[in-house]
């Protein structure tokens, strides 16, 4: 228990330090609207991070999540808004497509990195075909949902907490989630016990697709329009978020709560510099630097743990 706390402590600490610095530099950020502004765009990032986490959990990696989220955003801003039934059917089919890719990767023993790379072209192409130029509009209910103003705590805070808790319940508490983690931890043990690895892997990919769909929808709800390149950066951000949150590339070691915190940290790192009155040129750099710093800190912690 203790060590698990330690693991979650590092991401929490990095977020807290960053948040503290922002508040110190700009006390007005410590308000309902300030927080909403700081974390608004964190919601789709957090959802995309959950999607990536499902894939990393089974020892694969998804280089297509950014274009997939863009695709879902385009579908939401066009079909879902105009002909809802068709729109939702497309999104469901996309989730099924994700599951099929997961099964294909396992059955044929393919490198996930290349297959998802190829799929990133496919999703990107489909997005361009649906929405050649920026535009579209969110369905009204979605816009209403994403601009909700709950009392006391802004949506930008509540939503990530809800996402983290739901993902935690599924991955860490449910019987299925435990099996999926087991696939990452010791696939052979599951196979020996008679579990169907294909089915489990397809499930992990389907859940990832589901989170990707949610991310696309949330993004459209926030930005009121979509374009085919809207979420390209999410591929890299989602990987970084999972890793920042204490996840690892192999062994099924991931933490949903940590990953959401990681996503928040990355979002905050981007906006932090404007508070420093530094040029926004360094936004991406700050994300990279935080990533490196946290990973270095983690190495120190694990060294000390190993020494103790």
């Amino acid at each position: 228990m203790n060590r698990e706390l330690m693991r979650i402590l590092l991401p929490v600490l990095s977020l807290a330090i960053l948040l503290g610095a922002v508040f110190y530099l700009q006390p007005r950020a410590m308000s309902y609207f300030g927080l909403n502004l700081l974390f608004n765009l964190a919601i789709p990032v957090a959802l995309a991070t959950m999607a990536q986490m499902m894939i990393l959990m089974v020892n694969d990696i998804d280089l297509s999540i950014g274009t997939f989220v863009s695709f879902c955003a385009c579908v939401t801003a066009t079909f879902v808004q105009e002909t809802p039934l068709l729109g939702y059917a497309i999104l469901l089919a996309a989730i099924a497509g994700y599951a099929a890719i997961g099964a294909l990767i396992y059955v044929r023993g393919l490198p996930a990195i290349v297959v998802t790379l190829g799929m990133s072209f496919v999703w990107g192409g489909l997005a361009v075909m649906i929405l050649p130029s920026p535009g579209g509009a969110p369905p009204p209910w979605l816009r209403t949902l994403m601009t909700l103003k709950p009392p006391l705590v802004p949506l930008a805070i509540i939503a990530p907490i809800v996402i983290a808790l739901l993902a935690h319940l599924f991955v860490k508490r449910s019987s299925m989630g435990v099996l999926l983690q087991g696939v990452g931890g010791n696939e052979r043990a599951l196979e020996r016990a008679g579990w169907s690895i294909v089915r489990l892997r397809a499930t992990a990919y389907a859940v990832a697709g589901f989170f990707g769909v949610l991310s696309g929808m949330a993004l459209v709800g926030l930005t009121t329009s979509a374009d085919a390149n809207i979420a390209l950066r999410y591929t890299l951000l989602s990987i970084a978020g999972v890793i920042l949150g204490g996840g690892e590339f192999t062994g099924g070691r991931i933490s949903p709560i940590g990953a959401v915190i990681g996503a928040l940290t990355l979002t905050l790192a981007a906006s932090f510099l404007s508070f420093l009155r530094l040029s926004p040129d360094w936004q991406i750099g700050a994300q990279g630097a935080i990533l490196i710093l946290v990973l270095a800190a983690r190495l120190l912690v694990s060294r000390r743990e190993a020494a103790a």
Partner: protein, 494 residues
């Protein structure tokens, strides 16, 4: 824990598993030839034997992971026609459970979550609390005062604690009760008092009508817990008697090989003059120039790790020497030796590329000549050296790895059980080659799981639990001495 239900325990000598003339062949290798055994409720079978005697094949047939190539396995309480269901499913529903040395736990899950994996029919509703109580009950039953939390991540536990969890899960209550539990070296990482708790639990379990197969290199433990001892040798059951009918010496004798005619004596006279000490390992193993040093003992007791560590400590990850100090002959070919995409030629020349290169460019004439030369010398049976290495048989692949190392001028050769899958004729050739290379001043560190190879050595270190348990020289190098040092002889604990 699970006392099997009353109906079975009432019938204390009912057979749980019956093996009838079981054969198991892997290609040309006969791992099990004609094993027959009936395991009855209430008995604990101590299974002993030297490396390669067929112990693990035997238990894998019992637990259904291997389907025998001949003979029949039958389980009690079977209703289903035997041919329709996979053996592993039959074994599973017959209540056969196994604990192996390679851990089958998921390190990223907690102790209680790991119960979910073998327990496929676990009810979904409130499964966590069910898993928690089941695991803790099992742990409490086997290892009182274990101090392991059901919520701890397995990866955070010590090796001993992981082994305890795995054992407890094997004894735990599930949809099918445990009738026979197979324990392969269960005490290897447990300390004495914990091991005693396990032995006590095994006795309770058997008294209640369960059966256990207990494999251990600690003969004291075997004598203490087993009601019957089965000795395996060369894929056969050599002896199967009540424990009371055995003495320690009987056991060693039953396990032992027949010593080949006077080889040991020859070996002793061949080494006339040895040079200065050229290697010393942290474990205390040392070697002199021109000496053939053997590392013996049961497989997995730290010999391979010691050799790999020694090699890595003498070679750099940043620069390659023109004249390397040590070369390595791998025994686990797939893991440590063979480069599967390459030809025989390229595999053979890898370690000597730098020695035979000019300004960083591979000297391909010298490479081809070298490969030709070694193909002759060591007798690699291949049409063309440009054929893929995987087109060769295992023994010929091994010869390529030998040639890779011996072709170098390195003064020390480290060999990690390099004769697996090599036929007898080749072995003799290789022995001769090693001996003549040693005569020219080369030093060999040779880990082997086969007794007659160890008998070729000038000096032998026997490993047990990662430490050296005996150093043998000259006439002391005998199969019996090695067995004695490999197995823990004294009683399990006082």
């Amino acid at each position: 824990m699970t006392p099997p239900d009353i109906s079975t325990s009432a019938d204390l000598s009912a057979p749980v598993v019956e093996l009838n003339d079981v054969h198991m062949a892997f290609g040309p290798v006969q791992a099990l030839s004609g094993a027959s055994l009936t395991i009855r409720a209430g008995e604990c079978i101590g299974l002993v034997g030297h490396n390669g005697a067929g112990k693990s094949t035997f238990v894998n047939v019992v637990n259904g992971r291997l389907t025998p190539t001949g003979g029949a396995v039958s389980y009690t309480g079977e209703q289903a026609p035997q041919d329709q269901v996979r053996n592993s499913a039959r074994a599973h529903s017959a209540g056969i459970r196994s604990v192996f040395q390679e851990l089958s736990l998921c390190p990223n899950l907690t102790v209680l979550e790991n119960l979910r994996i073998p327990y496929s029919t676990m009810p979904r509703h409130r499964w966590r609390s069910l898993a928690r109580t089941t695991v803790i009950e099992a742990l409490d039953a086997v290892f009182p005062d274990h101090g392991i939390s059901a919520h701890a991540l397995v990866g955070d536990l010590s090796i001993a604690e992981r082994q305890m969890v795995e054992i407890a899960i094997a004894f735990s209550k599930r949809d099918h009760d445990a009738r026979l539990v197979i324990l392969d070296e269960p005490t290897s990482s447990l300390d004495v008092s914990i091991a005693r708790q396990l032995l006590a639990h095994i006795r309770r379990f058997c008294a209640a009508g369960g059966a256990v197969i207990f494999i251990s290199h600690m003969l004291g433990e075997v004598f203490e817990v087993a009601s019957r001892i089965v000795v395996m040798k060369d894929g056969r059951i050599a002896e199967a008697r009540e424990t009371a009918d055995f003495t320690h010496d009987d056991l060693v004798e039953a396990m032992g090989h027949v010593v080949p005619e006077g080889d040991a004596a020859q070996a002793a006279e061949a080494r006339a003059e040895l040079g200065p000490e050229v290697a010393r390992l942290p474990s205390g193993l040392s070697a002199r120039q021109g000496e053939i040093v053997g590392l013996a003992g049961l497989a997995g007791h730290g010999q391979a790790e010691a050799l790999a560590q020694f090699f890595l400590s003498r070679s750099s990850k940043w620069r390659a020497d023109d004249r390397p100090e040590v070369v390595f002959v791998a025994g686990d070919r797939a893991r440590d030796g063979v480069l599967p995409l390459w030809s025989i030629l390229r595999n053979l020349s890898l370690a000597t590329l730098k020695e035979f290169s000019r300004r960083g460019i591979v000297n391909r004439t010298a490479e081809a000549a070298l490969a030709q030369d070694w193909q002759q010398r060591i007798g690699i049976r291949a049409d063309k050296l440009t054929d893929p290495i995987l087109s060769l048989s295992g023994g010929n692949q091994q010869k390529v790895l030998f040639a890779r190392a011996l072709a170098s001028a390195a003064p020390i050769v480290v060999m990690d059980d390099p004769m697996r899958g090599v036929d007898v004729g080749t072995k003799k050739e290789v022995y001769r080659m090693i001996r003549s290379e040693a005569a020219t001043g080369r030093t060999f560190l040779w880990y082997s799981t086969e007794t007659d190879e160890i008998l070729e050595c000038d000096r032998v270190f026997v490993f047990r639990n990662g430490d050296i348990s005996a150093e043998l020289t000259g006439a002391d190098i005998t199969a019996e001495n090695m067995l004695r040092a490999s197995f823990e002889m004294q009683e399990a604990a006082e």
